[in-house]
């Protein structure tokens, strides 16, 4: 028997640390004045960059209203970096919980017996 369980506990702890550190992912881009990822601009940015918004893009862009858009909450866009960081940590925790839960469920359904 390996020490697999203790490694998995350490990995889980590692994920908790990553969730707490996740605001680095909003603070660094802010510090270095980096914008959206390439090809992930919203229609306002496209308008500025290209001079128009392609018709098909206009039709599809707002197809889906995500409950926690951009790892934040609706109306928190103007709340500054501190609140954005808090929203980010909450998003990391919620996202990991849901994704880990789905993967766990999937694994339990398909797994081989020992």
């Amino acid at each position: 028997m390996s020490n697999g369980n203790s490694t998995m506990k350490k990995m889980l702890l590692g994920l908790v640390v990553l969730a707490i550190l996740s605001p680095v992912g909003v603070i660094l881009p802010d510090m270095f004045k980096a914008g959206s990822a390439w090809g992930e601009w919203d229609t306002n940015e496209i308008q500025k960059m290209v001079g128009f918004v392609p018709q098909g893009m206009k039709n599809l862009a707002d197809l889906w209203q995500a409950p926690m858009p951009d790892y934040s909450f609706k109306g928190w866009e103007e709340k500054g970096l501190g609140m954005q960081s808090l929203a980010y940590v909450i998003s990391a925790a919620v996202g990991m919980g849901i994704i880990g839960g789905i993967a766990l469920l999937f694994g339990k359904i398909v797994k081989q017996k020992e």
């Binding site: 697999g4 680095v24 090809g39 229609t43 790892y71 880990g100 993967a103 999937f106 694994g107 339990k108």
Partner: protein
């Protein structure tokens, strides 16, 4: 690399959906043949890790941002099929819950990040690591190169998906209907930023975890190969 809604035409995103749905079914069957009960938590940890590492946006000063995907380290530990499942779960939740990546683009995004990165990365890792000892430095070097190449191949493919849009979907007046930049802009843009920055991030993530596992629990590096 999370393509939003509105960038891909239906003639692009529909075929990707048509591919990814049966693909994930096949992946589930492949995983069911090798996944042992005690490794199920690893699959969950892998999916959660891929999700959270994608939140670490790395800036190019004054330019764009990007991130690692964590797909290659999951593939190294659990195999590329399991990595496809783990990363795809993360991508689908990112699209639905956080609006990161479009609903229409789920098929394409799962293909780029959930199929291309783990398969390219894993087979490069396997090729380079060969029959070396589990604790050999060759293993983490192989992981680093697998991570670097895997994410770069996916970036070029995403660049092609963006770049063909002005060719295949035009309004009667000649204006593009979806992603407006041609291949000559989209492919180099996606390639250069991943070659210079984000590829290195995926390489580091992969190599550091392999080094950690070599020191702390090397059995985790024998799961996939050893399971057959």
């Amino acid at each position: 690399m999370h393509i939003p809604d509105g960038y891909l035409s239906p003639q692009t995103y529909v075929p990707f959906y048509a591919f990814i749905i049966p693909y994930l079914g096949i992946a589930a069957r492949k995983v069911s043949k090798v996944l042992r009960s005690r490794h199920v938590p690893l699959l969950a940890l892998g999916a959660a890790f891929s999700f959270v590492i994608m939140m670490f946006n790395v800036p190019i000063p004054g330019g764009t941002t990007g991130h690692a995907v964590g797909a290659v380290i999951v593939a190294v530990i659990l195999g590329p099929w399991a990595a496809s499942i783990a990363v795809s779960i993360a991508l689908i939740v990112q699209a639905l819950l956080f609006g990161d990546g479009g609903i229409t683009a789920i098929g394409a995004n799962c293909f780029n990040m959930g199929v291309v990165i783990p398969f390219v990365g894993y087979y490069i890792y396997k090729l380079i690591s060969g029959s070396s000892e589990i604790t050999s430095p060759r293993r983490w070097v192989a992981g680093a190169i697998g991570g670097y190449v895997g994410i770069n191949v996916a970036a070029v493919i995403a660049g092609i998906e963006f770049g063909i849009q002005p060719l295949i979907a035009k309004a009667p007046d000649g204006h593009p209907l979806y992603s407006p930049y041609p291949l000559s802009v989209a492919v180099p843009a996606m390639a250069i930023e991943h070659l210079m920055v984000f590829g290195i991030v995926e390489a580091l993530v992969t190599a550091l975890i392999i080094i950690y596992l070599q020191k702390s629990d090397k059995t985790l590096l024998t799961i996939y190969g050893g399971a057959r």
